[in-house]
Symmetry: C2
Subunit: 341 residues, 2 copies
């Protein structure tokens, strides 16, 4: 079954579930506490702890100016709220806005254009990207970290010679897979607590479905299929953005300049195709869109309705949807700052 057919089937089932309110197949589900774990990178406590150290260690960047947490600030929502796009360790700005790392473990592809088929692959690219950590190559990073970390890698990976670039990405990925925000008000509502979200958010939720937002933003992460459910790792759930071209908003926020996935595949049908982004904790991760051009959530909702659905929402409808989106903020498990070796 090809991707398109599977998505159509999946969305068909969703529409049906929305219409009849079938309990056995709802388009929204609470976030499961345990995300999928790849067979070649089993999760272990000591690997997570090692990954946590690496995550907060500035030695991972060329000038030692940035840690992962510099642009994916976990306790400030997990993204970079400071600027539309972040600057890397050597001062070069990234092309796109840094998304939150919370709940990325449920994605099937990584980066806005889906160019990485796994979290480990995305991390490998981050470490040497000149707009991010800017290490000249994998060898330079291994050399930089060797004195501090090599013994610990051999203990965690249980073999000599296991201190290498690939395992650095594996340890980091293991830590990032623990970054899951269950317990949002919306999840409690889905689990049967009718009072978990206020009336206005319930109206917003219904509006979110009726207007059509939910045709892309569904399932556990409100970003479409997750690994093993309709899609496998490496298969991305992409949408055209802007879908209604030529709007005033498109011009004002330069939404059509970046051709998205086209740069990866050079295939015309991928022009301006983008991975459907996660909506969990969206109220905490301004600014919005791939280019971080929109500073507030209500403006983001208004613009999305126009550019994606051809719908001009009233101010009240925008407010309702924003109230719903606020209920997607989950509980952030405490992150003890690790001792660095």
């Amino acid at each position: 079954m090809n991707t398109l057919i599977r998505v159509v089937t999946f969305c068909g089932a969703l529409s049906w579930a929305v219409v009849v309110g079938a309990e056995e197949f709802s388009p929204f589900q609470p976030l499961p506490p345990q995300p999928p774990i790849p067979a070649d990178n089993a999760l272990s406590d000591d690997k997570v702890q090692l990954g946590r150290q690496l995550y907060f260690d500035r030695r991972l960047s060329f000038n030692q100016g940035l840690s992962c947490n510099s642009c994916h600030d976990l306790m400030a929502g997990g993204a970079d709220n400071r600027a539309a796009v972040s600057k890397g360790d050597v001062g070069r700005a990234a092309a796109r806005s840094a998304p939150t790392l919370w709940n990325v473990a449920y994605q099937t592809v990584y980066f806005w254009d889906g160019r990485a088929a796994s979290l480990e692959a995305a991390l490998a690219e981050h470490l040497t990207s000149p707009t991010e950590m800017a290490m000249p190559d994998d060898k330079a990073l291994v050399e930089r970290l060797s004195g501090a970390y090599s013994d610990q890698f051999e203990r965690v990976f249980k073999k000599q010679g296991e201190f290498n670039y690939q395992n650095i990405t594996r340890a980091l990925a293991s830590y990032i897979r623990t970054l899951v925000t269950t317990g949002s008000r919306f999840d409690r509502y889905l689990q049967g607590d009718g009072s978990a979200i206020p009336m206005q958010a319930k109206q917003g939720y219904q509006r979110f479905i009726d207007v059509g937002c939910a045709s892309c933003h569904f399932w556990v992460n409100l970003s479409g299929p997750v690994p093993g459910l309709a899609f496998q790792m490496g298969e991305g759930f992409y949408e055209l953005f802007p879908n209604y071209p030529g709007t005033e908003e498109e011009g004002r926020y330069a939404l059509a300049e970046d051709l998205g996935r086209y740069y990866i595949t050079q295939d015309d049908k991928d022009r301006r195709m983008w991975r459907v982004p996660v909506l969990r904790n969206i109220a905490l991760t301004a600014p919005y869109f791939h280019n971080g051009a929109v500073p507030t959530l209500d403006e983001a909702v208004r613009v999305m309705a126009i550019t994606q659905l051809g719908v001009k929402l009233t101010a009240g409808e925008v407010e309702d949807i924003v109230e719903f989106l606020k209920t997607l903020s989950g509980e952030f498990p405490p992150q003890p700052l690790p001792r660095l070796p």
Copy 2:
């Protein structure tokens, strides 16, 4: 009694204690778990929690590039191990090396030259210093943080209108006063556990006293008097550095170029006078000296003996003292990364 007489008296008592091994007055003491708290900034749990948020919040710097933890990286020893001197948020390098913030609550003055009479005053200077957080003035910082923090300040300080620059420094200072590393091997040794430090460290400890290091590096922080003991807040314990001028080491590490406290007082007797630095956790806070010119602890010990005491230590003697200094590394209480408002 003037400062000099008090120090002479104090040191006299210390020498005597060392000679006769008197238990009632030892020049070294375990770190008390509770540091002195100033009367005008009572410690409270919610003030500490607020200070912790501010400590990790990049919005405190002009370009939002730095938090306090960027240059005083708590879980990497509390200092900046990356460079001799740190660069501030607008790219200007500081004149001196960022010291660790662990255990600074026991100091009577702040900065290498002692120019701040309290931790709060030191923080006020940091926030607007162009080589540090680089905010243009106090008003700009208050305006920046207002939306995120003003309600919380009114709760913590229990009055309307309490969100202001001075209280930002008070909250930060309260958090920093909780950064205390008790439980070092040396402290356990002082508390009677003879096996807490190895033989070589014991030899190093004796050497540290015999050679004369302990004539400045004594008492709970191995940096001389603490508030209320011989000195009051604002009174600094300063020493001349280099004390034996014109050595090869002085030239190689440019130790005499910075005139230290003289820049503050313009008084000739303060030329190259420096606050005696804390030795706790010294093994974790390379590089060394006010200018961060010396990268390793053994070289720092060798150079100090030559420039301060006129003594050329053998390699073995240096090693012994370094082993002793390593026992000053304490237990680092876990620091949960705070949620940012």
